[in-house]
Symmetry: C2
Subunit: 206 residues, 2 copies
């Protein structure tokens, strides 16, 4: 991959070419329509090359979950600016608003749609469930760190950072789920409410 | 069905037997593993009886979405008690807490898991998306009505009922998504935070 960005430039190797092909096949055929043949066709590889990399569909899908979560985390990864209020707003804005031009991903909604489809597999699949539990916790920790920094710097109220961050992660998962599965634009209705929650709960000078 | 409760007693007819069989097959094989043959086997019906009721898998799944949403709405339907604070707490508790004994559903988590799996289909399927958009709006309206009643009775702060209810629906969808796809119990961490949000935002006497 180019500069560590999964969807930019030419794929580095067959593994990555297969991951990108899986992403395209998922967009085209849906989860239930994914097949090794279709993915191999999309990647312009033979099925035998495919089986050189993966034991089968189950193995592929675990790798693909990892790939989507890496992309998800890359999108929502924050470099701390040293200003927790700004960090918090950037973090929330990345999820709620259109992407700033600096984020090189072809289609945010497609990535979030795939995230929802992969996440739904975790209802049945314990391996997926384990992985999502782990990444949810990392994600909440990142959020809690911003809150703790804000408290330490005297900018945020002394809330329970773990609880508030877990709550925010749930709100954002709810936003992502609804956004990916509705015809209208429910986020625009709640955009102010989410800002108000953050202001009322966290910001001392509001 | 018995007393209008989809999972209680003997199924009234083949249509309902097929819906229940789809629910069981979904629990057993996952969404990707659903097939007409497996559903017919579960329902103890021939494939030809199946095709008497449904044109095919697509048609079946739209009916099944309806079935799960009906069950979902039955579970979360509220009879107004005339006390909006109580209604609100009951509504939230139905989603966050264990079922009270009066709710006759064999397994709340199985229903919510199926809801997540069906909802993920809406990422790709416009018919599913249309239906979820519609039922989300009905659900939010029900919630907004409780808030409006509370404002009218002078118990709740004069918030924008539509926005707060849409926000709460997102929170609850986030809770349902995480709960169905994690190993641990994230709801217990945020239970207090959700109560606090409601108290701080809505209740005047808190």
């Amino acid at each position: 991959m180019s500069d560590g960005i999964p969807f930019a430039g030419e794929p580095d190797d067959s593994h990555e070419a297969i991951m990108r092909a899986t992403f395209r096949a998922l967009r085209e055929y849906g989860y239930a329509g994914l097949s090794i043949q279709r993915i191999a066709d999309e990647a312009d590889l033979s099925k035998s090359t495919f089986y050189h990399h993966f034991d089968g569909k189950e193995d592929l899908l675990l790798s693909f979950q990892e790939f989507i979560l890496t992309e998800f985390n890359r999108i929502f990864q924050l470099e701390s600016t040293g200003d927790p209020e700004q960090d918090l707003k950037t973090f929330v804005s990345l999820i709620l608003d259109d992407f700033p031009e600096c984020v090189e991903t072809p289609d945010k909604n497609a990535v979030l749609g795939s995230y929802v489809e992969m996440r739904a597999q975790a209802v049945q699949n314990p391996d997926f469930r384990e992985k999502f539990t782990e990444t949810d916790k990392l994600f909440a920790r990142q959020f809690a760190q911003i809150i703790e920094d804000g408290i330490e710097q005297g900018e945020f109220a002394e809330v329970d950072a773990e609880k508030v961050s877990q709550f925010m992660i749930m709100v954002l998962d709810g936003v992502i789920l609804q956004n990916a599965t509705r015809d209208d634009d429910p986020v625009s209705t709640v955009r102010d409410t989410i800002d108000e929650y953050i202001e009322d709960t966290l910001l001392l000078d509001s």
